[in-house]
């Protein structure tokens, strides 16, 4: 009745790794650190995470940061540069590139076009996360973008 299939433990570990990224996205966190904390080798972690969630953990983390940046651009009185570093990016260039890739416009354009949101933040966090429906496909990544390539 209360059978626990072995792969549920595996999925739970992956979820805890995902929660770690959801919790500590503002920290200098990268895929190696997440894999290590979750007790996986990097390659095994990237493969398993992608199989479970449809994208690499690197993409997920950067998606989370972009989503938090959207939140801040909408609602906080901070500059684009401040927001870039706040959400864990180390260069403005990669932040703007990733932002445009994921959202379709630059951070500044996004800010001009977006009034403050009234969607509860928890739902934004859980739903808008790294899984942007506007992205074409999880398999259309550029090489080196957090994927094993």
């Amino acid at each position: 009745m209360t059978r626990t299939a072995p792969d549920l433990d595996h999925l739970r570990s992956l979820r805890q790794a995902k929660d770690l990224m959801d919790r500590e996205w503002a920290q200098p966190l990268d895929v190696d650190a997440v894999a290590a904390r979750a007790g996986y080798s990097r390659n095994h972690f990237v493969r398993s995470f992608r199989a479970a969630y449809g994208q690499t953990p690197g993409r997920y983390l950067s998606g989370r940061r972009i989503e938090r940046a959207q939140d801040l651009l909408r609602n906080a009185n901070l500059t684009v540069t401040e927001i870039c570093f706040l959400v864990g990016f180390s260069s403005l260039g990669s932040f703007c590139t990733r932002f445009k890739e994921q959202v379709g416009v630059t951070p500044a354009e996004f800010r001009r076009a977006s009034p403050p949101a009234v969607v509860p933040g928890c739902f934004a966090l859980m739903h808008a996360g790294g899984f942007n429906p506007r992205r074409k496909s999880v398999f259309s990544e550029k090489p080196g973008g957090g994927a094993r390539s």
Partner: protein
């Protein structure tokens, strides 16, 4: 005329473990625990809200076929199912209290125009918002950028 919402279903991986989690860790009260053959009916609820119960259901026969049950179990374990919003009159205090009992949080208490909000998971992987609502929505209020929110010490 519909007069209220009285029971909401939350899928859980294990009813016994979920019953303990909801009563011992979240502090809910047990409302019903009865069996009808293989079918076990467990409901819990917040002490201050007698009119609304949560029924803790395992994804299994007879309500689900084996394949669907397996899928729901995977979704639970992956943590992609959200179960709802819990109200609190003091989000920070409740956060400390529940953390001390071992409840896993995805987000620490964070200021929002509608209140203060944290995000927790139950023992199956369902996520809940834990919200201390302001009397009124204040769209001009500062949104906490939760810079420190990610660090747990």
């Amino acid at each position: 005329m519909i007069t209220g919402l009285s029971i909401a279903t939350v899928w859980v991986l294990d009813q016994e473990s979920a019953k303990r989690f909801y009563t011992e860790k979240l502090g809910f009260e047990l409302r019903t625990d009865s069996a009808m053959g293989d079918f076990r009916w467990v409901t819990v609820g917040a002490k201050d809200q007698p009119g609304l119960e949560i029924t803790l259901m395992e994804p299994a026969a007879p309500s689900l076929d084996p394949e669907s049950a397996e899928q729901v179990r995977s979704l639970l374990a992956k943590g992609v199912l959200g179960a709802g919003v819990l109200s609190t009159d003091d989000c920070h205090a409740t956060y400390r209290e529940l953390s001390a009992r071992g409840v896993e949080f995805v987000q620490e208490p964070t200021n929002r125009p509608y209140g203060i909000e944290a995000l927790l998971r139950d023992d199956s992987g369902n996520w809940f918002s834990l919200t201390q609502r302001h009397e009124q929505m204040d769209p001009t209020a500062e949104w906490d950028p939760c810079v420190e929110g990610g660090s747990r010490g």
